[in-house]
Symmetry: C2
């Protein structure tokens, strides 16, 4: 039996055929219809699903459930997207619409939760408490407790990036001031890098920015690794923001494991080693088993795999 995992984003719909162990057999993607009509989005999903399934010599009856991971606020009672900025959805009954075309168990899950669940199953060693952090446009969070996706009482929980780390600090997109996200997201690192480039036009970081025609999440890391002092300051401070927020989550959740995903996690040990050191120093728990901190492993497939496995386990 197989499971279909759908990573429904504002730009693309990516769909994968996933086995019971979270392995992707094959995947395909298509542009997301951008007119905000959920019926069109579901039609595109159905068409791509059927094509992918038949291209792989399978039948609809080989599938036990479908999981759809989706950005925005999910109404889990109704199986609908209550609101999604990226998809221009307002109260979109995705699962019911999907089932009009294909009568199969369908679950819908917030994309950050789905990705966290994928990491948990594949990379979580049966943790009692597991936290996934994604450093991307924002700081996404997902928490798995006793094998279940933790969503709070109303489905909107685990917004870990929207906890204030710097009281009265930088404005966040959510309306608060000083959210962790405003300091630790990849986009925040880009801003921090740009400020430092202004101040240090002589730096290697500045040279990289010119050569590459842009500043991204790698600019400061790349220059720091070559010994650029200004870049090193940026990276050190950025890692401190990331790590200070992770200690918060550790003191709150005391998870067995935290995984860090998003493009920045490609920095590997250069990012992880100082985070581990910081967390070890400031973790409130000094007596019991300490948290393990690792890079996420599923990368761009986390959404597909997590949605499929959530469908398998919670359909």
């Amino acid at each position: 039996m197989y499971y279909l995992g759908v990573d429904l984003g504002g730009t693309n719909i990516a769909i994968g055929i996933v086995d019971k162990d979270g392995k992707i057999l094959n995947k395909a993607s298509v542009s997301t219809p951008s007119n905000g009509e959920y019926t069109d989005v579901v039609t595109a999903m159905i068409d791509l699903s059927k094509e992918l399934i038949s291209d792989n010599g399978l039948e609809l009856s080989d599938f036990e459930a479908v999981g759809i991971g989706c950005p925005g606020s999910i109404d889990y009672q109704k199986g609908s997207v209550a609101y999604s900025n990226n998809l221009h959805f307002n109260d979109a009954p995705i699962t019911a619409e999907f089932q009009k075309h294909w009568n199969i168990p369908v679950i819908i899950e917030n994309d950050a939760n789905a990705a966290a669940y994928g990491e948990y199953i594949v990379n979580g060693n049966n943790a009692d408490v597991f936290v996934a952090i994604t450093l991307g446009t924002g700081v996404g969070g997902g928490v798995i407790i006793d094998g279940k996706i933790f969503r709070g009482a109303n489905g909107a929980g685990a917004e870990l990036g929207h906890s204030v780390l710097v009281h009265n600090g930088l404005p966040c997109t959510c309306g608060r001031k000083g959210c962790w996200e405003a300091y630790a997201a990849a986009t925040a690192l880009v801003k921090q890098t740009k400020v430092a480039i202004e101040k240090h036009p002589e730096s290697l970081m500045s040279q990289y920015a010119k050569e590459r025609g842009k500043v991204n999440g790698r600019t400061a890391f790349d220059a720091a690794k070559k010994g650029d002092a200004a870049a090193n300051e940026v990276v050190k401070k950025y890692i401190e923001y990331v790590a200070d927020g992770i200690v918060n989550m550790v003191n709150i959740f005391q998870p067995n494991k935290v995984v860090i995903g998003g493009g920045i996690s490609n920095e590997g040990e250069y990012l992880l080693a100082p985070i581990r050191e910081y967390v070890k120093k400031y973790d409130y728990n000094k007596l019991f088993t300490p948290v393990e901190i690792d890079a996420a492993t599923l990368l761009n497939d986390a959404g597909i795999i997590g949605a499929a496995l959530a469908a398998k386990n919670f359909k």
Copy 2:
């Protein structure tokens, strides 16, 4: 059937006879032996328990379980206190020692967790997710998820007060800088009040401090209620610290209900109304049922009741 609830503190041992609904039939207390010998502490507990039980015309056999709430780090596997600063305990096997004297199911629980559980049962309306915050010497936290006390993977979780709210802010007893506790504890309010009194010797707040011979958690609130501008500034800023941290917990947990305990919670609506307003404004969730925020109701009995009810439900 009855349950015995023990609130084991550094100064006093308070014990109550509790019924299945969390009502205290009667209670008594005694000084905690201060020599750091857990055997002496357990003997004192046993003596007081037997006295209380016989004074109320009951027998040991009328009791189904005993719950002990205790400050410090609990080893739930062993039923021991791994470390408690207040009690001078290191690896103290309290439950086993207790059962040498009285062969009955005994559970041990961190005191903040026990108090939160008591509030949850009595005041939590069967919340799926319930958070209790105590504004005292520190900022204590307790989280109940699906009827279970959330302790993290290793038992040391839910240290909500030790999440940084002010990055690189005031030093906290835990070794971090800028913990919520360093700004929102009752002791933090006292410090904030003292600083304001220095700056505003003409204020009513300053006069109250002189008349009463001390500054405490009520000084600024009392003066603010009489229209003292300097006191009002202190109270406003203090409430902002409390509320900003509560929004963090709301965005993370999206609980059905948050209760606020500790002496400060006696300020009632004067404290709660601005917190509710702040949380409503900054809660990430605008679509689904919002969190309810209330004062704790069990006050000093929360520990006894929570420990007894935890014994009843988790023995």
